[in-house]
Point group: C2
Chain length 219, copies 2
């Protein structure tokens, strides 16, 4: 079905897939039934050829003369990204950011369910955080296993990031989204992505100096 060798697929293409999906969902909400590669590309600041090429890495989803059927393409892209299922996610770190993420009700619709929250601070353990209760780190392994948790949002302070990462890896987590402003190291069997606000601000700062705004394509 898909090319079995994922390294044949340009990484930038996968990033754009997420953006296409976001736009497609917006188009669906507006009642669009079909959409051309040109329109989809324009909506994410890209070209028609780019859209077609990106999608073609994974199969033939379009209909010549018509374009792409919105509903159908959403399903395909979700399947490709692996969000045609629900991933269970934990939050490591019940600070301001962790709590803000827990309160956000938009992940479920995207295929991610926040099912647990952990903190090493005894003062925070036991507190209710929405529907969830903050658990001590000691329960990590058991909870990950019991609730079949695959992903972690790492929202601890920079100083604790690596230590907690190691715990997550031990517990069997397979993917980590790191919000701490440090690099973390994990075995290559564990997927890691990072999201550092300061880094993005620096990119903006640079763009503002050289007015040639090259527009950082969404992340």
């Amino acid at each position: 079905m898909e090319p079995s060798r994922a390294d044949a697929i340009p990484n930038p293409a996968v990033r754009r897939l997420s953006l296409y999906l976001r736009q497609l969902e917006a188009f669906r909400q507006h009642g669009r039934i079909t959409i051309s590669s040109r329109q989809l590309g324009q909506s994410v600041g890209s070209t028609d050829a780019q859209v077609r090429k990106d999608l073609a890495y994974f199969g033939q989803f379009g209909h010549p003369g018509i374009g792409y059927r919105v509903e159908e393409l959403i399903a395909q892209v979700r399947r490709i990204l692996g969000t045609d299922r629900t991933w269970n996610v934990l939050v490591a770190g019940a600070g301001n950011l962790g709590r803000a993420l827990l309160a956000y009700r938009g992940f479920e619709r995207k295929g991610f369910r926040l099912v647990a929250v952990f903190d090493s601070d005894p003062a925070k353990v036991g507190r209710k955080q929405g529907a969830l209760t903050v658990q001590p780190m000691g329960e990590l392994v058991a909870t990950v296993r019991r609730d079949a948790i695959d992903l972690a949002l790492l929202t601890v302070p920079a100083s604790a990031a690596q230590e907690v990462t190691d715990c997550l890896v031990m517990a069997g987590i397979r993917g980590i989204l790191n919000f701490a402003p440090v690099s973390i190291v994990a075995p290559r069997t564990v997927a890691v992505a990072s999201l550092d606000v300061a880094v993005q601000l620096e990119q903006l700062s640079f763009q503002m100096n050289f007015a040639r705004a090259t527009r950082t394509a969404g992340a």
Copy 2:
């Protein structure tokens, strides 16, 4: 000094510059005086040649036989990124995320000072948020001018993102970091970067399906 045409500089190089800076600050904290391109590259998961090439776009900062002086290179990179000064930043949207960002004390050190917060909800206006008081949107123009604010963190719901963006642009903001899970459009004179948690989770999801973890280089 720098090449005057910023489009001669690969965009990925600028992104890596931020990561180098983060590592350099860590090395400084550990007391390192000099560092080689190899060591710096390794610390961000890159190669020595890549580091040298990236830096060489902006000048000659190294010392053959020695490497780079940490303190000196930090200063240079900050100058390149434009964070050798302090940018005044506002937060648009005093929801959970906005408040979490306001509470974070790490931006100042990086050259970004959060100086104002706005919300359209009358119930939130007037509330204290740390040192700041939530202001109504109507005061946007005046405050941006008075406090010389250049950058905005956009933390409003998706449904309001475009409308508030338009207000920010009107008020004279020159850069926007968008946390809402939608594309926003702004004049090309305004720098825009986006930071969508769901998008990053999707990238992780993809990586986890094709175990060939290509490791999303920090953002």
